[in-house]
Point group: C2
């Protein structure tokens, strides 16, 4: 129970994936089985925690909205204390620790105390949402760049994002925690030049039994999210890739069968 890469007194930051316990990596499952203490985020569910050893101590460290900084300091301190007490510690984070997970702050806190800390990557929510919706996040000719942003702002502050860059042509957006800010997102992206007809997918509880995929267009985004609870993790996908029908032209289609707008998007190498 003490493999080479997980000695007592060390910490692993582990990506728990989007929610479905089957979407943990094999490595994450192994580390979780070996851990003596597990600190987990609010979005990590029982199905994942059940993979921990029966004797492990499980400690929820979900953050309260608007008080992130103080809570992060507390989490840092708890991690350091558990490691210095000689425990094998897993810090379970929803999705991938490196995407909006503040893993650098925990890594730095642990390193400053001489604690060995490593990171086990996970499946990020955007990948799980795309899989659930049956789409690709990128399209060979039409969506060449994919940008992840979080729409979570400090209480009372507006989103401080580079909207013209986010509205770039031939790119797609995956917006984490986008429910509350949906009207602000629509307003800013359209002001920056993105068409209100841009396809949108709202993916709620990706990979869980309660998953929902809502399809629409950017101008209606505020309406689309209205039935979504703020408590449910919600990912917004915005761009041409968010429309499974538009994204579909493939090699087996005759150009003559395609409507004009689709035919013009058939990859050049097939047109010649």
């Amino acid at each position: 129970m003490s493999p080479d890469d997980f000695p007592p007194g060390s910490v692993w930051l582990v990506g728990a994936g989007p929610g479905d316990p089957e979407l943990l990596t094999r490595k994450a499952a192994r580390l979780l089985e070996c851990a003596e203490v597990v600190f987990y985020d609010a979005l990590v569910g029982a199905g994942v925690l059940n993979l921990a050893a029966p004797g492990a101590v499980l400690i929820g460290v979900g953050k309260r909205s608007g008080r992130h900084s103080r809570d992060q300091a507390t989490i840092d301190r708890l991690l350091v204390e558990a490691a210095l007490a000689g425990k094998r510690v897993v810090r379970l984070k929803g999705g991938d620790p490196s995407v909006f997970g503040r893993s650098n702050e925990e890594v730095a806190a642990l390193a400053a105390h001489g604690v060995t800390v490593r990171i086990c990557p996970g499946v990020t929510a955007a990948s799980a949402a795309a899989a659930s919706a049956g789409i690709s996040l990128t399209l060979r000719d039409e969506v060449r760049a994919l940008t992840f942003v979080t729409a979570h702002a400090r209480a009372g502050e507006s989103l401080d994002l580079d909207w013209p860059a986010l509205a770039s042509r031939r790119s797609g957006l995956a917006i984490y925690m986008g429910r509350a800010a949906a009207p602000e997102i629509t307003r800013n992206l359209m002001a920056a030049g993105l068409s209100g007809a841009t396809p949108v997918l709202v993916v709620v509880n990706a990979s869980l039994a309660t998953e929902r995929v809502i399809r629409g267009k950017l101008s209606a985004l505020g309406f689309l999210v209205r039935a979504v609870s703020n408590a449910d993790p919600t990912l917004l996908l915005i761009g041409a890739m968010a429309d499974p029908l538009r994204a579909a032209p493939g090699d087996w289609l005759e150009r003559s069968q395609l409507p004009r707008e689709v035919a013009s998007r058939v990859p050049r190498s097939q047109v010649t």
Copy 2:
């Protein structure tokens, strides 16, 4: 061996993750064990393929550079034929199928023939590279947006990317297949206003035993990749998050201990 979600004659597009067989998801491993036919990309290694059942037929469909489109049509046809023959088919793709994996083209080809196709997400290379380098891809105040792009162009063509958007302030870049185009990337990003002092990490063979992490700055990127073989998958991380030292200020640090440039970046909530 025939679970509800994998009937004969259906296809799963499965993310194989970055290379380390331990970084497959538990679901991917299960589907691979159930598959009768496995089509795999050139970057999927023996360690992953060993997880397939002993009787499974393994078929490599790695693409040759510069001839992608014809090969993609062939792959589409092979997938359809195997499914219509009543096999349980896994299409194994390096990383996550939704990130530069052309999964939409295969989904569309299969759907057009009435074949049931589903997607199992995977750990994308950027997440694995960040984990290996011990960094976060996002920083709470400094890197709020993260853009994935691929630097793979058709033979003889230059990269057709929105460079000003990619050089956006407070954002980070993860560039897939970036080795060959490194000089062009540096030139365009600096012309678009990104400082030559911007931190860069070059991560080669992320998660494999042969993994290498090379650290430097944007102006030296062309030099940094010179010792990297074109055959090795190479990810470029560009932005403030690519410097583990600059990304480190945490709650445990006294402001007085910090050099001026770092102190100015301590999150506001801790400064007040």
